[in-house]
């Protein structure tokens, strides 16, 4: 059975890179009701989560050769 952590981890790493990239490249982008750089923070959170899933999948794949 395919390890679901690989596609979902990759999805969030990609999404995280896109959002964090936007947060860095267009730091002036703000929504009406907040002063926070929402894309940057959310992007980093998703990047961390995606990497975590991929790390778990990698560890599982290397435990049973």
């Amino acid at each position: 059975m395919m390890d679901l952590r690989i596609p979902s981890g990759s999805f969030f790493v990609l999404l995280g890179l896109i959002l964090a990239g936007m947060g860095i490249l267009t730091p002036g982008e703000r929504a009406a009701l907040t002063d926070a750089n929402v894309n940057l923070y959310c992007g980093f959170a998703m990047l961390a989560f995606g990497s975590f899933l991929l790390a778990l999948a990698w560890r599982a794949a290397h435990k049973q050769p």
């Binding site: 395919m2 929504a31 959310c42």
Partner: protein, 559 residues
């Protein structure tokens, strides 16, 4: 709402992953069991999240945040009094029989425990209900896509139907389950930033409470009722939901929630796909943990929206026909708090939840139709590959029927109330049947059948003779409920009571089945295996105690 190119790109990226997962799983499907039941092979963390996410459809995200703004934290009773105890109960006490009997569906369990006609009745009503729910999800998604992408309702419905069809047709139940997990992650990441920002902007929980207690709700109560779940439920006039504590605990907490979580094959199917008995029992128990946190993501932003609308910050509740349009609360909040980029993630999460709501219903419909209707009544005894083909074809038929019901759903305005009404007609009596079936060996097939039938009639009659918010009362107006929520609770209570007593009376008047035929199906005749020697968090009972305690704490905290 204005979307940027990046938002469309994120939406497209998600759809690519969804279809990719379906494509990668297509080779794993060689039998009807692989397609319809995932061959009992899915790890427990996946079944748990899918158990939760299959239910996380249209009514949950849009409906619950709307209810947050309309009724306040009282809405959390759907989680802390309703869902969580029922999920723990189904895991500890009912999964041993669903999983252990090797039934492939909930109706099939009824066949093993009772008889053919009880299964037939349940299979038919369930099949109808799944198509109905799937159509409602599709309708809501169509409205959203129309609003966001500017497509026509028909284009939106057909497009979303095509995507759901593609991945369930390719990978069957496993594909639906995997995508439900991806969807769950997306919802958490797409909505929790919104909840955090909206609450922070409204001055935190304390600031919101202070702000709301100075206002008067449209229903006449003081706004303080919005931030207390138990303080104002003594009388129907005290809270905007129009409920009182007995209707709440007996109607919602006992009958409706247990009726849904313990007997609805849509969710039970996820737990049945687990790879061991212990995993199938832990599935609903583990799922209860994120479930009890959901109010913070879906209800609290709605309450914050109401508080924000009282402040001078540039947010007001969306309006329609002179009153607040609660179904739009979530999307308007997103528009105010998310810049391009995160807005795409939030909308993708919303669409994902609608689509997995549809996919979950379609896969459950597939299994019930193929095994409980087709294989039982239409063409029994064919080789397995025949049923695999039928399963795949049923996917297409199920999606097509959902499209029809999506157009039907257009005539109703509040999605959540409508769903609850349908569930109370069908599910509420069902829990009475299962309770007696699993825990009383004397219960008979005739008892179960006539109990179910009379329970459903009782539900319809109660709705027919009572009125709430202009709904019901098609047979006469005997009683008037302060809200349709209260009406739903009482329909459920009536249905369950009638089903329960009828089943007992008819069972006592009919011939019981020999005890040896009921081993593995009834509690008192089945030795339960205890998982000795594994760590506590891998055993259902200690897990259930820990999670139940947490739910209790939440109830007190927000009382």
């Amino acid at each position: 709402m204005k979307l940027a190119a990046i938002d469309y790109f994120i939406l497209a990226l998600y759809f690519a992953f969804v279809l990719g997962i379906g494509w990668m799983l297509r080779k794993k499907i060689s039998t009807s069991g692989d397609f319809l039941t995932s061959g009992h092979s899915v790890p427990v963390w996946i079944t748990s999240l899918a158990f939760l996410a299959a239910n996380l459809g249209a009514q949950e995200l849009v409906g619950m945040s709307g209810n947050g703004a309309k009724y306040g934290i009282i809405t959390a009773h759907f989680y802390w009094v309703g869902a969580v105890p029922a999920m723990i109960f189904v895991g500890l006490f009912m999964m041993p029989f669903y999983y252990g009997s090797r039934a492939r569906s909930v109706p099939e369990y009824l066949k093993l425990r009772f008889d053919e006609k009880t299964r037939g009745l349940n299979a038919l009503s369930f099949a109808g209900m799944t198509i109905f729910s799937s159509g409602i999800s599709m309708y809501a998604l169509g409205l959203l896509m129309k609003l966001v992408l500017g497509w026509s309702f028909t284009t939106s419905v057909l497009c979303s139907a095509a995507i759901v069809l593609a991945y369930t047709f390719l990978g069957g139940l496993t594909s639906a389950i995997y995508n439900e997990v991806l969807q769950f992650f997306l919802i958490v990441f797409g909505f929790s930033p919104l909840a955090i920002m909206a609450v922070a902007k409204a001055g935190g929980w304390a600031g919101m409470s202070a702000r709301l207690s100075t206002m008067t709700l449209p229903t006449g109560q003081n706004g303080d009722v919005m931030v207390h779940s138990w303080k104002y439920v003594a009388h129907t006039a005290d809270n905007p939901m129009g409920i009182e504590v007995f209707g709440l605990v007996a109607g919602l907490g006992f009958v409706m929630s247990f009726g849904y979580w313990c007997t609805d094959f849509l969710v039970i199917q996820r737990a049945m796909a687990a790879n061991s008995m212990s995993a199938s029992r832990r599935t609903p128990v583990i799922a209860a943990l994120p479930k009890m946190m959901m109010p913070f993501i879906v209800i609290v932003p709605g309450i914050a929206a109401l508080a924000l609308s009282q402040m001078d910050v540039g947010y007001s509740l969306p309006m329609k026909n002179g009153g607040p349009d609660y179904d739009q609360v979530l999307t308007t909040l997103m528009g105010k708090f998310y810049p391009a980029g995160m807005l795409g993630v939030g909308l993708t999460g919303l669409m994902a939840s609608f689509m997995s709501g549809m996919a979950g219903n379609v896969t459950a419909f597939n299994t019930v139709f193929t095994y409980d209707i087709y294989q039982t009544y239409i063409r029994p005894g064919r080789p397995d590959h025949h049923y695999l083909t039928v399963g795949r074809m049923t996917t297409i038929v199920g999606v097509a029927l959902s499209i029809c019901t999506a157009y039907l759903a257009q005539s109703y305005n509040s999605i959540n109330d409508l769903l609850q009404l349908v569930f109370s007609f069908v599910n509420a009596p069902l829990f009475g049947t299962f309770l007696l079936g699993m825990f009383w060996k004397r219960a008979t097939g005739h008892g179960a059948f006539f109990g179910l039938l009379s329970g459903t009639c009782a539900a319809a009659l109660t709705h027919g003779f009572t009125v709430a918010e202009g709904k019901g009362g098609w047979l006469g107006q005997v009683h008037h409920f302060p809200s349709s929520m209260a009406q739903n609770f009482w329909i459920a209570i009536m249905a369950w009571t009638v089903c329960f007593t009828t089943t007992i009376v008819v069972s006592l008047a009919t011939q019981p089945r020999p005890e040896k035929e009921l081993v593995g199906l009834v509690y008192s005749l089945t030795p339960l295996k205890h998982d000795e020697g594994v760590s506590w968090y891998k055993r259902p009972v200690p897990l259930a105690i820990a999670i139940g305690t947490l739910a209790l704490i939440l109830n007190f905290w927000f009382a």
